[in-house]
Amino acid sequence: MKNTLKVHRAQHAITQEELANAIAVSRQSIHAIESGKFVPSTILALKLAHYFNVSVEALFILEKRD
C-alpha cells in the first residue's frame, strides 16, 4: 500500500515530530508509516485524514499486489 503522507506533511510544512504530537503517536510510527514499513489501523488512518482534512483514500492508495 502506497501513501502520500510525506507529500501532505510537506504541503502543511510540519515535521514528523509535530504530526506525531498532534495525533498522539511516536515519531517512529510516522516514519514507519511514511516508509511503508507499517500499515496503520483504521483509527489511525482516520486521525491522519482528519488532521490533513482529506479522505483516507487520498492518503492511502491500494496497489495491485495488496
Partner: protein, 149 residues
C-alpha cells in the same frame, strides 16, 4: 495487544538498574559455583567482593538470578514513553520470534543431547505455551465464527 496491564514507563529504568547491578554478581557467582574460582582474585583487597558473591550454602545464586529475571520482566512489560500501534505491533512481533526461537532451541536440545526425559520436563514449562497458543487461537477463531452466524 492489550497494553492496559503493562507497568508504567518508569519501571523500565528500575529494571535496567537491577540488571546492571545484579548481572555482574550473578556472573561472578556462576564462576564460583561452577568451580572456576581461580578466575576470582582472592587478594585481601577483593576479599570483600568475593565474600558477597560466594555461594556459602546461602541462596545467593537464586537471589541474583531471580533479581535479574525480575529486572528483565520489568523491562519487557513496561510501557514505552509513547505507547501506540507501532509499539504494540513490535511487541507482538518480538514475542512471536522469541517464542519460535525458544521452541526451536528446546526441540534441538531434546533431539541432540538431553533426550526424551528432558522433553517430558520441558512439556510443562516450554511446550505449554505452544499448546495454549493452539487452543486459544482455535477457540477465538471458532468463537468469532459462531458469533457471526
Amino acid at each position: 495487544m492489550i497494553t492496559h496491564y503493562l507497568f508504567p514507563h518508569t519501571y523500565k529504568k528500575f529494571g535496567l538498574l537491577l540488571i546492571v547491578l545484579f548481572t555482574p554478581l550473578l556472573i561472578l557467582n556462576w564462576i564460583e559455583v561452577f568451580e572456576f574460582s581461580f578466575l576470582i582474585d582472592t587478594s585481601p583487597m577483593t576479599n570483600s567482593i568475593s565474600g558477597i558473591v560466594k555461594n556459602n550454602g546461602d541462596y545467593n545464586l537464586e537471589v541474583f538470578l531471580s533479581t535479574v529475571l525480575i529486572g528483565l520482566t520489568l523491562i519487557s512489560f513496561s510501557k514505552f514513553r509513547i505507547e501506540d500501534e507501532l509499539t504494540n505491533y513490535l511487541r507482538s512481533k518480538a514475542l512471536f520470534y522469541a517464542f519460535t526461537i525458544e521452541l526451536l532451541c528446546v526441540l534441538f536440545s531434546i533431539w541432540s543431547f538431553h533426550g526424551i526425559n528432558f522433553a517430558l520436563v520441558m512439556c510443562y514449562f516450554t511446550l505449554l505455551p505452544l499448546v495454549l497458543y493452539t487452543l486459544l487461537l482455535h477457540f477465538f477463531y471458532y468463537y468469532y465464527q459462531f458469533k457471526n452466524k
